[in-house]
């Protein structure tokens, strides 16, 4: 009998599913997390499809197809009827589409499982793919690309530009929800074709958690076994163009404050010892939305320049509204990334220098024993907050499968905090971090003068409206003349209206 990959918070449980001959969906396609005391049932249906699978000129297709499945009519029910039937159950199902994964997830109270399951499987297996639904979904995306991202979220815009630059020419380059021209051109035939080639029984992993019974497993095997099989055409991992020196992509926008992101590819994914070692250094440098972040201390805490400054070794979508990392945003190719939230325009050069200088300092000096001990002590318990619910633990379990991790990333993470040494961490920093070859994304007004300042490596003094301690003022002088010379040919400026069109 085949054993299943199970995740369980307190203890490991072993159950097996009888593998009948010729089962179209096999036992090893299940990731199970039974929790008897949970009155709800959580589903995460993972299809091996993402924006990396978008055909050229059809960027956004993976995303649109997923939306058509979850937010459209089925053969049985119009979209309104779907909403009406879900309404009293207080349940929904939603698609999270990233570069490598599409995960359709939802949760229902046990009392309503029968009705919910019928609606969920109907959506997955019998989408109607109606023109009216496609029009509505496309309109939503175009509003997001044309208006919201370009105009009302400069920090998300900065990150999007950075990823676009680092992954230019690869399957990771475009935004998940596409480009304006491509989205406009996507048709129902495109959607049907993508659905048939990617929503396949041999490309699905079924995550199930909470208070479910065995019958649900056999129901899922039977029902999702109705998907056709498809050949695997997943593209190889992207190979980002090598970065030569410091390259700056500026976006000219009439903005009152400047958003900055910078980074470079790293060859490290979770599961390896080095990843956990680098995670400690990264947490010290820029733990997401935590005042323990060193970058936060330098730029916000001491100088009051902005709302926060953080760093990452894994892609972290939605950072502005999340406090903790998302699940199911896995990538085979990650980057090291620094996020500087909008600073007053006149301090942009100073803030950039301050951040780069801190990264450089970390590489040169490593962490001290004290910093190491505090950070690993922090992470060991902080990680407990990452997945307090069944649904979140189930998400991590799927991610474990993606990354080929035997066991649980979260449990390994915590145990590594006891096993790693200061040397491990500083060695990982020296091996994976550097500041000579990076891409920088800047969203700002009057970009040309910033370009000139970088080209000339001009000093960027800073002044404050309120007094600062002498040590800060002394350090300001060093920051203000920190060498960060960039040749003119490595700086581009585009107007914001040109972004995301193609």
């Amino acid at each position: 009998m085949k054993t299943l990959i199970l995740m369980f918070a307190a203890a490991a449980l072993c159950t097996s599913i009888a593998a009948a001959k010729g089962d179209p969906v096999t036992s090893d396609q299940f990731v199970l997390l039974p929790v008897k005391s949970d009155p709800t049932v959580s589903f995460r249906i993972w299809f091996q499809a993402g924006s990396q699978d978008d055909p050229k000129g059809k960027e956004g297709l993976a995303y649109i197809t997923a939306q058509m499945v979850t937010d459209g009519a089925t053969r049985k029910n119009s979209y309104e009827q779907v909403l009406e039937k879900l309404y009293p159950l207080a349940a929904s199902y939603n698609a999270a589409v990233n570069v490598e994964m599409t995960v359709i997830s939802g949760r229902t109270h046990k009392d309503n499982l029968k009705e919910y399951y019928a609606l969920l499987t109907d959506a997955l297996l019998e989408p109607a793919f109606l023109q009216a639904d496609l029009d509505r979904i496309k309109s939503d995306i175009l509003n997001s690309l044309e208006n919201q991202l370009r105009y009302s979220s400069d920090e998300e815009l900065g990150k999007a530009v950075l990823y676009g630059e680092i992954f230019r020419g690869t399957s990771y380059a475009h935004l998940t929800n596409g480009t304006i021209d491509a989205v406009k051109g996507i048709t129902l035939d495109d959607v049907r074709s993508f659905y048939q080639s990617h929503y396949a029984r041999n490309r699905v992993t079924i995550g199930l958690g909470g208070g479910y019974d065995q019958k649900l497993i056999s129901d899922l095997k039977r029902d999702l076994g109705r998907f056709p099989a498809a050949t695997d055409q997943t593209p190889g991992a992207p190979v980002p163009q090598p970065i030569n020196g410091i390259n700056v992509a500026m976006v000219e926008k009439d903005a009152p404050a400047t958003a900055i992101s910078f980074g470079f590819p790293i060859n490290l994914v979770r599961g390896s010892k080095e990843w956990y070692a680098l995670a400690i250094a990264n947490s010290w440098l820029g733990e997401h939305r935590n005042s323990s972040s060193h970058l936060y201390q330098v730029i916000r805490e001491k100088r009051g320049l902005n709302y926060g400054d953080y760093s990452y070794i894994e892609h972290y979508p939605g950072g502005g509204f999340r406090m903790l990392p998302p699940q199911n945003a896995c990538r085979r190719q990650q980057i090291f990334e620094v996020w500087i939230r909008p600073v007053p325009n006149e301090t942009r050069h100073f803030a950039l220098r301050a951040a780069v200088r801190e990264v450089k300092g970390l590489i040169a000096n490593g962490l001290t024993q004290e910093e190491f001990d505090l950070t690993r002590k922090f992470l060991k318990k902080y990680v407990l907050n990452y997945a307090p619910t069944t649904m979140e633990r189930l998400g991590y379990a799927l991610d474990d499968k993606f990354y080929g991790i035997k066991g649980s990333h979260l449990e390994i993470y915590r145990s590594m905090m006891d096993k790693l040494t200061l040397n491990d961490v500083n060695a990982a920093v020296k091996k994976h971090l550097q500041t000579d070859n990076m891409r920088i994304a800047v969203i700002t007004k009057d970009a040309a003068s910033f370009r000139d300042a970088l080209v000339g490596d001009l000093p960027s003094p800073i002044s404050y409206k309120t007094p600062k301690p002498q040590e800060v003022l002394d350090e300001d002088k060093v920051i203000g003349t920190f060498p960060l010379k960039v040749p003119a040919e490595r700086i581009t400026i585009v107007p914001v209206t040109e972004l995301f069109n193609k």
Partner: protein, 443 residues
């Protein structure tokens, strides 16, 4: 579809069919009140060793009654992280970091909440730190001034959203004298002037951060007896002295108000129609009916949503809000409209929908579907200590406790189609409304 956001607003549960009032809230809790008036709710629940600790101060931007001082409740929330003599800011931060706590705070119109999530073995440490900073907060002028910079940074970040620009205008226009006139982050001019308000900030602490004005919500893996003992010991010395601010009540609105506001970037036009509502009160039948009316009239299964969003696709999104407030809030309907020349048309559709609800009783099945939805939504939302304590925060701020959840449940279960008609007629009258249209300058 829109992901469900359960904020613990609606509460319905049928546990067992026994006689007498049924408690709706599904966990057994203990209420403990100290002699100085500090109230604590301890809510044990199953969890993998986590505790959520919320300190709810019943003060928000509503309490900013002095001219030129808008935004101070929020600014003060920032200052609460600046340390005490016993635990200066960096020591506090280090301790919070070393226990791996997830810690933050937020400010709204009626409350300020300080929340931590941590491992159960660190509860004593958290009580030590929280009791200290609420009693002995200490900061110098320089740190105060630096933090003002961060607050201005937060303002700059948030004003890039058209919704922030819109809300500023709607509130300012709808209210003449009540402090709901300004948004929680405050007027830009007041934020700019903050660095010079060091002395004022200290009076804020003295008047409002007092035990009678605070409710603690502690949920998760907690030992009630031991925790109560610690609370008595650590918060006991905290001196009373809450001074209620003189919030001027808003006089009734007698005529419709309208305005247009411009957003410096690109956005689809947004229409906001705000009606003067009623303060939170489970015994106010029309108010409770209005809470249900919002979803029935404008939710995803409403006639107007199907028409404007799904079928005719004239509207990008449609939202309504019937909030819970200490004083008279705005009951709002907002629509992001695809074409500027359709604003009037959409507006009239909204008015027509409201007329229908005034004159035609809702289908009984739809009403019972909503009640079922609220039941399961609430139950499913109470699955972590943070959601339990966090979900109860607003109830605690408005009423000083969480017992009101059971009252609200009973009241909602009793709402009839006639109640809904009366609520529609009462609140959604033209003379009570303020209508603002926001347009992008760069279309």
């Amino acid at each position: 579809m829109k992901p469900l956001v359960m904020i613990g607003l609606f509460a319905i549960a049928v546990l067992t069919a026994t006689a007498g009032p049924k408690p709706f809230f599904p966990y057994k809790y203990t209420r403990h009140v100290l002699p100085n008036g500090l109230t604590a709710y301890l809510i044990p629940m199953e969890t993998p060793g986590l505790v959520a600790y919320y300190s709810v101060v019943r003060t928000g931007s509503r309490d900013e009654v002095e001219a030129g001082k808008s935004g101070f409740a929020h600014f003060f929330e920032h200052m609460m992280f600046r340390g005490t003599k016993k635990y200066p800011a960096d020591v506090y931060d280090n301790l919070i970091t070393s226990i791996g706590a997830k810690a933050n705070a937020y400010t709204t119109d009626d409350l300020t909440a300080y929340h931590l999530n941590f491992a159960k073995e660190d509860l004593a440490q958290v009580i030590e730190l929280e009791s200290d900073r609420f009693q002995n907060l200490f900061y110098e002028e320089r740190e105060f001034q630096t933090e003002a910079g961060a607050v201005y940074g937060e303002y700059r970040k948030s004003i890039t959203s058209p919704w922030s620009v819109l809300n500023e205008k709607v509130q300012d226009l709808a209210y003449d004298v009540h402090t709901y006139k300004h948004t929680t982050i405050g007027f830009e001019a007041d934020i700019k002037a903050m660095p010079d308000q060091f002395e004022y900030s200290k009076t804020f602490f003295k008047r409002f951060y007092r035990p009678e004005n605070v409710v603690l919500l502690i949920a998760g893996d907690v030992d009630v007896k031991k925790t109560v003992k610690l609370l008595d010991e650590k918060y006991g010395p905290w001196a009373k002295g809450y001074t209620a601010p003189a919030v001027v009540p808003e006089p009734p609105q007698t005529a419709e108000r309208t305005a247009e506001v411009s957003y410096p970037g690109k956005t689809l036009p947004i229409l906001d129609i705000a009606y003067k509502g009623d303060a939170f009160d489970p015994s106010n039948k029309e108010y409770v009916a209005a809470m249900l009316l919002g979803d029935l009239a404008f939710g995803e299964t409403s006639a107007i949503y199907k028409k404007l969003v799904v079928n005719e696709q004239r509207v990008q999104r449609l939202d309504s809000s019937i909030p819970m407030n200490r004083d008279l809030p705005l009951f709002e309907i907002s629509a992001m409209i695809k074409k500027a020349d359709d604003i009037t048309g959409v507006r009239d559709e909204i008015y027509a929908a409201l007329e229908t609800f005034k004159n035609t009783p809702i289908d009984a099945r739809r009403l019972s579907d909503l009640k079922k939805r609220n039941k399961y939504g609430f139950l499913m939302g109470l699955n972590t200590p943070d959601r339990v304590a966090g979900g109860m925060a607003r109830f605690a701020a408005l009423t000083g406790g969480i017992e009101t959840v059971d009252q609200l449940y009973a009241a909602m279960e009793a709402v009839t189609p006639q109640d809904i008609m009366r609520a529609a007629g009462k609140y959604f009258a033209p003379e009570r409304r303020t209508v603002v249209v926001l347009k992008g300058a760069q279309q």
